[in-house]
Symmetry: C2
Subunit: 557 residues, 2 copies
């Protein structure tokens, strides 16, 4: 059965009653969206302030194949398993983007028997958060060009506008465009472009904001561009945009509650991609879950070089979160992929390739234990094609590494298949003080921060950039000294070259572009030729998606 077929057979319980039953939260604190989704009021969130916090467990992965290695699936499976063995556990996930949904990857609500539901709703629009983020972003864009059209009192240099437009779609034709054509009535022509909504600074701001007031302050701080002198920043607050933008985000700021196939509560809130953004769900969601549950399982996008690094160095640092352990998800398939096997041949046993590809896992594991200072459980997300010889070899390699390793069958069996993983995690987190170490100190220069990530985690021998970029970073360091860096890099490799699999060393990480995300509070460094707007494949998933006369959706996977 496909994921959507399994999801459609779920025995869902009305969310309002379920939340009341499991967490004692009354209906008045919840805004229902249909019968199976709800938003939690910020007033209720604030009322939890004095409660003790549960343990935070991060699920991350090795460098993935294009299909992904099952981080969300494992997060859900582990959460269900913890609840099965009598623990009070809640999951914190990211909201799916429509881009991959119509492109290559399909939905992002887990898989097999470890899913969150209603799957179609979560993948299509959900509670409207991404739409609100997109329109808040585009309102600011419209206000910028409108200001210039009506006399440009602020003296914005149209050549130095860094605030683009966004759409929640893979649409490569919008990456680089010229706007304002067609005569005086349409404003001044200039270069512009679109990013996908998940890459919007508004997304990052929503994910990092701690209150409505903080949200508005951050929105006002956004640097939209510069004046003609090239250095005087123009802020969203100069355009009086932050009030309307925050009003558009009035509901988006509230965490969304749904359930797993096994009727356990998950919060799904915020959804930046970790290859082009900081890749973690909202601080509000994570902190709320920590107040409500004894164990909180969350995910950070793509491999541990991207999502986990940003989870530690950006999110945990800013929000003062103290994680207790990391689950590193691997698949036998992906390790063979890193060992040089083609996508088509991944279902064939290949011990040599598995052995060779193991170095990818090894580096991620070492990064987590040495540079993040966190205990790590390796979880094999079991596929039916995995052979016993492969699993045995994998376990032997883990033993040499000194890593605890669990083969987990939550995809096929739900929470029951992840009980040993859950037990292993409990054994660690119950016997350890929470906390992690950062990869870099906040007081070093941005250049050194990027270099620290590249050399310590990516195995690079160094980083490079144009003189212009170096000078730009220096200027920002003078004004925004303590900002962490958010590296945009391919998820396919530790390097900037997607074809360089395994655990490359000695490569140079070229920083091709830098952006100031002053509202979010970090500096974005684009490594290699990373796109902040994906394209659709030759056969987009959209072609297969359908809905019948009864409203039943098919082809969403």
């Amino acid at each position: 059965m496909s994921d959507i077929e399994i999801a459609q057979q779920a025995n869902m319980k009305p969310i309002i009653g379920l939340v009341k039953e499991q967490y004692g939260i009354d209906a008045e604190h919840l805004d229902p969206f249909g019968h199976y989704k709800a938003k939690l009021s910020l007033e209720y969130v604030a009322s939890l302030a004095d409660k003790p916090e549960g343990k935070l467990i991060l699920v991350t992965a090795i460098s993935p194949t294009p299909a992904g290695e099952g981080k969300t699936t494992t997060t859900v499976g582990l959460g269900d398993a913890l609840n099965r063995i009598g623990k009070k556990a809640m999951m914190c996930l990211r909201e799916p983007s429509l881009g991959p949904c119509f492109g290559m990857k399909g939905g992002a609500a887990g898989g097999g028997y470890s899913q969150v539901v209603p799957m179609e709703d979560i993948n299509l629009h959900f509670t409207g958060d991404f739409h609100a983020i997109g329109v808040a972003h585009n309102l600011l864009s419209a206000l910028i060009d409108n200001h210039i059209t009506h006399g440009n009192l602020l003296g914005i240099d149209p050549r130095r506008i860094q605030w683009k437009r966004v759409v929640d779609m893979n649409d490569r034709a919008l990456r680089k465009i010229i706007i304002g054509l067609g005569g005086t009535g349409n404003g001044y022509s200039r270069e512009d472009g679109y990013d996908i909504v998940v890459a919007s600074e508004v997304m990052a701001i929503l994910c990092l904001a701690t209150s409505r007031a903080d949200l508005k302050k951050r929105l006002g701080r956004i640097v939209i561009g510069y004046k003609a002198d090239g250095s005087t920043a123009v802020y969203a607050s100069n355009l009086k945009a932050q009030g309307a933008m925050a009003a558009l985000l009035k509901d988006a700021i509230k965490p969304n509650l749904v359930q797993t196939l096994e009727n356990n509560i998950a919060i799904i809130h915020g959804g930046p991609f970790a290859n082009i953004a900081h890749g973690c769900n909202t601080v509000t969601a994570t902190k709320t879950a920590l107040k409500l549950a004894d164990y909180v399982i969350t995910e950070a996008g793509f491999g541990a070089d991207l999502g986990a690094e940003k989870f530690i160095d950006i999110k945990c640092r800013m929000a003062d979160l103290k994680p207790s352990a990391v689950v590193l998800v691997a698949t036998i398939r992906a390790l063979k992929f890193h060992g040089g096997v083609n996508k088509e041949d991944l279902n064939q046993e290949n011990l040599a390739a598995l052995e060779a590809g193991f170095e990818n896992l090894e580096r991620h594991y070492n990064n987590i234990t040495q540079h993040y200072g966190l205990p790590c459980v390796v979880c094999v997300n079991h596929f039916t094609f995995d052979t016993q010889a492969e699993l045995d070899l994998f376990k032997a390699k883990c033993a040499v590494l000194g890593a605890s390793c669990v083969v987990s069958k939550h995809w096929a069996e739900g929470g029951a298949g992840a009980e040993s993983l859950a037990q292993e995690v409990i054994n660690i987190v119950d016997h350890r003080e929470p906390g992690c170490t950062f990869v870099y100190d906040e007081n070093i220069s941005s250049w050194d921060k990027i270099a620290a990530i590249a050399t310590k985690l990516y195995g690079a021998s160094g980083i490079s950039a144009s003189a212009k970029i170096k000078a730009q970073l220096k200027v920002w360091d003078e004004n925004y000294g303590k900002f962490p860096v958010c590296i945009a890099k391919t998820q396919m490799s530790f390097s900037t070259n997607p074809a360089l699999k395994g655990a490359p060393t000695g490569h140079i990480v070229e920083i091709s572009e830098v952006k100031l995300a002053n509202g979010a509070g970090f500096i974005v460094a684009i490594a290699g030729d990373m796109m902040t707007m994906p394209g659709l494949p030759k056969q987009p998933a959209a072609e297969r998606i359908d809905i019948d006369d009864t409203g039943k959706i098919t082809g969403l996977f």
Copy 2:
């Protein structure tokens, strides 16, 4: 008090209980969106098929001032008044667009004590229908450019693509753009542009579709452009887009239920603008309301030359609706405006200007009674600045015209202020067989259809267009002979010149562009230099909109 302050003091009742109490509909047929909005299932809608239908009353207006004359306010006031005098009445309104909300006009949920609530929610995102329409539209746009990038097997001529992109924002800089710049990886460069979401054919399709199957069929029929021969149409179905588009509209197709300040149920569903689109709420909403209530009051955008004409010639014709009467909303202010008074001086008594401007009302009234074949009640939407002498003159003019006329105070007094209007409407519709006449026969040519509207309703002496446009219309007539026409024209005048107030005659209506809306099932004729993407004013309403720490919104009016 401002509209939003009045709305925030409303004594709202939970919508699920209210719908059950007033219409006996069980919670299982409703999807709640928060506690005060809900969507009605299409299965429930279908279950009403055999019920008798109530009477349909259309609220339209004279040619408006930029602030609008209170059609929505009057629709709500009349509905509340009918319920007050013991009738079972339901209102059918259009959903507001974010464009005017951040631009000049502000919100669109009624005004004063005749509003639908929750006002902030209805104006900002509501239940996400417009976002769903926008993304369904833009998915098709992305699929077009993606198809060309991957080899253009269909042979789409990039110079002949007529399917633009959309955003729910007033953003003039996007009217005319060039996309696909930046090298081979970003596709092929071509001219493109953005319309506001309300102008999307997907909006029209949603408003006219009678079922999920009909929706999908219409989406597949969309003509996105032509092949290099200039005449072979390429359809959305050629790109296999209709399934995913319909899936994105899975909830948007369901009617939305809210309440008035007086706790009567209103359906708000669909929201095309009548100046650039067909301007009526969904057929599903209207038909559902007719099954549930004895009296259904609906509105059609802008003046009766635009909204009412399209309501009759497009919506009633396609959906076989039989209206019983029309309420023509006028304000003393707007009539003085038509009599030549400047916007700033409209609060001063000016009997001469009122007398002169009355000709605008007269033409609308005659159009309704003679060309639409419907009885018409003139409703003065009372403003506090109106003087008794002005009201007396107005009534005298109506008497000469033979029009029944009611001064209605629903803005200040809610339903109680519109009871005499309600009684007048009842007197008419209870003693008349429902039904109207069309302005043109469906079998005449498109050119003659446009000419019929222009000469009969607009007072024009004729229409003009380039030879190319005439030839294009002929080609479409051969293939789509019976399509009605949807004229895009300024709402400020019967002519194409917004400055030509009153009731101009002898003017020529120039058709500057024609578009085939094959999915919606009509031909769009753009009269004059009408924009399908508005711009923001120098001081956009967005600057005043704010939200405080408790989530309370201000500045939305």
